[in-house]
Symmetry: C2
Subunit: 244 residues, 2 copies
């Protein structure tokens, strides 16, 4: 996610252990670079409008159950120019959260919003990389992981509808670092989230299943009901929108 562009990825988590389906996957413009340098305004009033329009249209277009927003870093190594861009992208992230919460309160939308740490997601997908990577190397490595997913390795996903265009560009070797960085992030964050939830559900079942053995009959019944409820919740088909 940046102040100029961000990626949106819509992941449908089907019921009954089927594979996730990516139906929409886009890189969209937040704010174009102006023709005359130095004429651009980064005033919060203008960005509030952009954030509102983007969140409102995303809710209306995708109607997601969950929205994952990439957590921005708040420390920047480097000079004051880098610091400025860090503050600006933090502004946009903050505004997305504020607009979504306000829309949820005002319109009664039932949407779960979460912040996703890109660092944790990178650790998940690049767990087998031993050496310390530079920022650029990490981007290249993440694009390679996304590419492997699209080729049916790593995890299986179903790419349908509009998302096919982006998947084709990835696989045709058109995956320039600049354009595909955010796209890869949105895919890996959404699928990372899904993997964590599967792992958590399995662990929950194991923990509760283990307790069943050691508890009296009545408690066992309650726990069994708890597991059943959690399973039915997990088995509900959901739509997750990732903003990265």
């Amino acid at each position: 996610m940046g102040i100029r562009n961000l990626a949106l990825c819509l992941i449908q988590i089907p019921t009954g252990g089927k594979i996730p389906q990516i139906s929409s996957w886009n890189r969209i413009t937040v704010s174009s670079k102006p023709e005359c340098p130095g004429t651009e305004s980064f005033e919060p009033i203008e960005y509030a409008e952009k954030a509102y329009t983007l969140m409102k249209s995303s809710l209306e277009k995708y109607n997601p159950d969950t929205i994952l927003i990439e957590r921005q870093r708040y420390r920047s190594a480097g000079g004051s120019a880098i610091q400025e861009w860090t503050v600006r992208v933090n502004m946009l992230e903050s505004m997305f959260h504020a607009v979504l919460h306000t829309l949820a309160m005002e319109r009664g939308y039932k949407v779960d919003v979460h912040s996703v740490s890109p660092r944790k997601v990178a650790r998940l997908w690049l767990a087998n990389v031993q050496e310390k990577l530079t920022a650029r190397e990490t981007k290249v490595a993440k694009i390679a992981v996304a590419d492997r997913i699209l080729n049916g390795q790593t995890v299986k996903v179903d790419i349908v509808d509009q998302a096919k265009d982006i998947a084709d560009s990835f696989q045709n070797g058109n995956s320039s670092l600049k354009k595909f960085d955010d796209l890869a992030d949105s895919l890996l964050q959404g699928l990372g989230w899904w993997k964590w939830h599967i792992t958590r559900s399995i662990m929950m079942e194991e923990i509760l299943g283990w307790e069943e053995v050691t508890t009296p009959e009545k408690r066992t019944k309650i726990i069994k009901e708890g597991v059943a409820k959690k399973q039915s919740r997990r088995l509900k088909k959901t739509k997750d929108l990732v903003i990265a």
Copy 2:
């Protein structure tokens, strides 16, 4: 304005050249320091809730025509700890703008939101100070200006209702730097805004009045109507809420 506290000042600009009236003036808690250090969360999801509650209740309580929000700096000298707080207070500022814009769009509120540069406001009120002040000296100097205003010097204001409590604390010498810094800022930003608008209106009249002499009869009429319209707009009583 900070992540812990901020000041709200409600200024009523009456019609017909009367003096501004301060009817509400408060320092409010955004987020208390937790008892156990290190347990605090600065996640955007939690701050989105705080920003929404604060803006919604301020709109409902004060019903302002204009809201002035103190513009936060985005460069921080100093170490990474200072940088973190700068990013956090920027987050809050961004969220206020985003919530207000969303509420305006969703509910049809007619409220003008502006960013006010604290640096320009300081230049206005401390124009006679020749030497370069440190951050701490600037705070002390601004509190002294607020104190002079409350004593009827500099500009005349009418302090009524709840705002009297704060004015009394200022004048009783209880104006500790920590507590009265934001309060002084909110007063000076609101009155600075009012002074700029008076100056602009006078200049507009002078410029348009000058054109009247040099233009043919028909254009004179249009300009006269323009002046009348501007005057009537300026003469409308308004309520300005300052967040600093």
